[in-house]
């Protein structure tokens, strides 16, 4: 177990290191002088101001030293300051994080509720029209473009029916539409996974035994088959969790929901390089950490899994 953990930690660090290198080079490959871009909204700086700023930002150093600087500071949690707001990147991300966490929890609940529920129903009625209908909807859920679904929900539930607000994050009602959009998009894949996994379990011997004992079908599914069927589903949930926590960029932008995703979108629009850099790095870390945690959680859910 300890060795496994160590191995995973090392690989996680390597991944994050790789991402940091990638982001760092990417930002520097974008055409245009960062100083020009910084001053895109402002009167042209004098050559002296330029030189001073270059020095201050470390842009006068050779590129490998710039990277080491960046890495050194990043390790101390200092991701630099946003070009636009002049605030520390870390604090910009941290302010938005609670909103994104709320949205993640809400949309994941929707996804599990819809996804696992639909998957169970489909498996129970395997081969019937209910099964077919559920799976068609699930496929739609997987393949619908998020911004489109979001807009449709806005048009129906906000513009036509007036049940929910279009944008913002002030109350729980603001959370509903984005959470449902994200949840539905995620639930498709969960439904398909639950169905196939449950069907597989239902064909096993222990299920036949349970049925032979005269247990009701609902008890067979709920108490026996489902527990085993959910193991692969948890992996998917974990992956989705990483994705959701890193901010659902497009959905947050569609609903003007002020989370990390919206921050990323405005950073991109403003070419706010330190902020973009910081968010990408942050997203990578979240991903890696969540995946690690999910892997470790397996042994809790399924004692058969061992880490040797």
């Amino acid at each position: 177990m300890r060795q496994y953990l160590l191995k995973r930690l090392v690989s996680a660090i390597l991944v994050i290191f790789g991402v940091s290198l990638l982001v760092f080079t990417m930002v520097r490959l974008v055409p245009g002088d960062p100083i020009d871009i910084m001053f895109a909204n402002q009167p042209r700086p004098t050559p002296e101001q330029r030189a001073a700023l270059r020095h201050q930002l470390g842009l006068d150093l050779p590129i490998h030293r710039q990277y080491l600087h960046f890495l050194g500071r990043a390790l101390q949690g200092d991701l630099g300051r946003s070009f636009r707001t002049k605030q520390p990147v870390t604090s910009e991300i941290v302010t938005r994080l609670p909103n994104t966490v709320k949205l993640t929890v809400a949309s994941l609940s929707v996804a599990v509720l819809f996804g696992v529920g639909a998957g169970m129903v489909a498996a129970m009625f395997k081969g019937s029209w209910i099964d077919a209908a559920t799976m068609v909807i699930a496929i739609l859920g997987v393949s619908l473009p998020g911004f489109w679904l979001g807009l449709m929900l806005i048009l129906l539930f906000a513009v036509q029916l007036g049940w929910f607000p279009v944008s913002g994050a002030a109350t729980w009602r603001h959370l509903v539409l984005p959470a449902v959009t994200l949840g539905v998009l995620t639930s498709g894949i969960l439904a398909r996974m639950t169905r196939s996994s449950l069907l597989e379990e239902l064909s096993r011997d222990y299920v036949r035994t349970a049925r032979a004992k005269g247990l009701r079908e609902s008890a067979v599914i709920a108490r026996h088959a489902l527990r085993n069927a959910l193991i692969p589903v948890v992996t998917i949930v974990g992956l989705q969790l990483g994705q959701l926590l890193s901010g659902a960029f497009i959905i947050e932008a569609v609903f003007a929901y002020p989370g990390v995703g919206l921050l990323a979108v405005s950073a991109l629009q403003a070419r706010d390089f330190p902020l973009i850099q910081g968010i990408v790095l942050f997203v990578a870390v979240i991903y890696v950490v969540v995946n690690l945690v999910v892997d470790l959680l397996y042994c809790l859910i399924d004692p058969r899994v061992s880490y040797s």
């Binding site: 245009g32 001053f39 402002q42 048009l155 913002g168 002030a170 569609v254 405005s266 070419r271």
Partner: protein, 586 residues
């Protein structure tokens, strides 16, 4: 389109800013929506013409009726209630007018801070916090008499010390105020008495007063700056009609009415405090979502995206304002080299022949582009001054170029560029008339460039099109290279001084410095008399047009929508949004 108020209205300010700052500004920010660039605003659609008044000098004190008494200010006939919620695409970076230049910030803080002076409906300067002012004969001393009995939102008193504090703060290099670049001629500010300040300039600088009209010179509360330090940008305190209440990052900024406000703007009828409880700036980046939120009434004021304008026309729930007083100008400029010495104008071949440049000017049908590509959201402009800038004079049209392909062809023939038999590309000494048109890669911009390419090819040019990232475009424009190119560019500024500024950059028209032209615009920057300044600028523009040094095309028009429940909302000078006459009807 429903009824709208035929007055002037205030908030394309935010957008006007988009074009205000030099080409770099316009490039970087505006790309997405050429039509949204630059917008000043008169309500042409509503037949709202600026009231014709007698030409007033810049130093004309505010008319008596613009000086409400405290008694008047407290008379508020309407019930105060409701919120005006303005939808916009992004969030502010700071609300400290001395720390930012972003238009999204300006759109908000300009309601919190009042300046000493501001533009009136006819683009003359009127007093806001300054009651009146005097300019010394040598143009070096500006003495402002301040209004009495005005308090900052924190309760401290507005006086000469606050003005001095503000301007010292702007000029202090530690502050890093971007706007300091516009008043570099200011040497010192001194307090004469509690209600009089004197500003001393290093040299006569006529644009000084006009530059002070921008929100970036809003007067800040010294006590609040002291108290909040670096956090002042998140806790702004001024004397304006709206007080800062709350800022939820990325979501919205909430201002509340300043109940003690006295309004000195001549184009605002309500001389007292705002009639609406709160003014909210809501961040909604996605255009479709903006439109949905506008339809539900979640936001009730919106700069309508150009493609959505048609959808709202005829909608009884929406009032549409066409903002025609713009501070932006789109034009074609030619590849130039820096002059040898102070003066000169060196165009690269084939544009070194004035007849070739004139052929371009005659060969581009700007009206057609406005009608088709821009869907009518621009005003044809024959000169380099935007329609919403003081000294703009439609009479410049007679010196401009009207579409005339025959004349263009004739000029090219005279210049030796002739059509070979059976060919469609003109030649001279065996060389084809091949040129490259550069612009940045925004959809509308690219479409416009394609039409220009097509129009010029019809008179025998062989135009290649090259679109690129704004960053690359700026970099390439600034470095000499051998291609014969011209480019489609935009500029924006709020003061006619731009006629000098736009010839002081490192590429294109920025290198146009013939002695005759430069002397006129430099002289205009030193003459205090407004009429004389305008006359000098007019002469300068005639020279620029004679040389066909650039080809002016149009000033953009923006469209603002207000839901019907927002009564009395209007657009003010240079397109600012005016909230102080507005009421919300439930």
């Amino acid at each position: 389109m429903t009824e709208c108020n035929a007055g002037m209205t205030r908030d394309a300010r935010g957008m006007r800013l988009a074009t205000r700052l030099s080409r770099r500004r316009v490039l970087a920010s505006g790309l997405a929506a050429a039509g949204a660039l630059g917008l000043g605003s008169l309500l042409a659609a509503c037949g709202g013409e600026p009231e014709a008044t007698e030409p007033a000098g810049w130093e004309t004190p505010a008319p008596a009726q613009a000086t409400p008494t405290a008694a008047q200010a407290t008379e508020t006939p309407q019930r105060v209630s409701g919120r005006i919620v303005v939808g916009r695409t992004g969030d502010a970076d700071s609300l400290d007018p001395h720390h930012t230049i972003a238009s999204l910030s300006w759109q908000v803080f300009t309601n919190i801070f009042d300046p000493l002076v501001s533009w009136d409906a006819n683009l003359h300067v009127e007093g806001i916090l300054a009651r009146e002012w005097e300019i010394s004969d040598d143009g070096l001393e500006y003495t402002f008499s301040l209004r009495e009995g005005i308090a900052f939102h924190d309760g401290t008193e507005f006086n000469a010390d606050a003005v001095k504090f503000t301007f010292d703060r702007i000029l202090d290099p530690q502050t890093g105020a971007p706007a300091a670049a516009w008043i570099t001629s200011l040497e010192s500010t001194e307090v004469v008495d509690p209600l009089t300040v004197r500003m001393r300039l290093k040299e006569p600088f006529a644009p000084f007063l006009g530059n002070l009209c921008t929100g970036y010179f809003g007067i800040v509360s010294p006590a609040a700056v002291e108290k909040y330090g670096d956090e002042f940008g998140k806790n702004p305190v001024g004397t304006g009609p709206w007080k800062f209440k709350e800022w939820r990052a990325g979501e919205e900024i909430v201002l509340e009415r300043n109940p003690d406000y006295r309004n000195f703007r001549s184009y605002v009828e309500n001389k007292g405090a705002p009639l609406v409880s709160e003014l909210v700036f809501r961040n909604i980046p996605d255009e479709q979502t903006q439109i949905a939120a506008f339809e539900t009434g979640e936001i009730n004021v919106l700069a309508v995206p150009p493609h959505a304008v048609a959808d709202f026309e005829g909608n009884p729930d929406v009032q549409i304002f066409r903002v025609e007083q713009s501070v932006g100008i789109s034009f074609l400029e030619f590849h130039m080299d820096p002059p040898q010495g102070q003066y000169g104008a060196i165009f690269r071949p084939p544009f070194d022949d004035v007849r070739v440049r004139q052929a371009v000017a005659y060969g581009v049908n700007a009206d057609e582009i406005i009608a088709t590509v821009l869907e009518g959201l621009a005003v044809r402009n024959y000169g380099p001054l935007p329609t919403g800038v003081a000294c703009y004079d439609p009479a410049i049209e007679q010196f401009g170029y009207h579409y005339d392909p025959q004349r263009a062809a004739q000029l090219l023939d005279e210049a030796g560029w002739t059509l070979p038999s059976g060919g469609s590309v003109r030649q001279k000494d065996g060389q084809p008339l091949q040129v490259t048109l550069w612009t940045w890669n925004a959809t509308t911009q690219e479409k416009v460039a394609q039409v220009i390419q097509n129009q010029l090819n019809q008179i025998g040019f062989d135009v290649k099109l090259e679109t690129m990232e704004p960053g690359s475009l700026l970099a390439r424009l600034g470095t000499a290279d051998d291609t014969s190119h011209f480019d489609l560019m935009s500029w924006g500024w709020t003061e006619p001084h731009m006629l000098l500024m736009m010839t002081q950059t490192t590429a294109g028209i920025g290198l146009y410095r013939p002695e005759e032209y430069q002397k006129l615009v430099v002289e205009a920057s030193r003459v205090v008399d407004h009429e004389e300044r305008c006359r000098l600028y007019f002469e300068a523009m005639k020279i620029m047009l004679r040389d066909a040094a650039m080809v002016p095309l149009w000033s953009p028009v923006s469209v603002v929508g207000a839901r019907k429940e927002v009564k009395g909302f209007k657009i003010g000078p240079q397109g600012i949004y005016v909230y102080e006459d507005a009421t919300i009807e439930s």
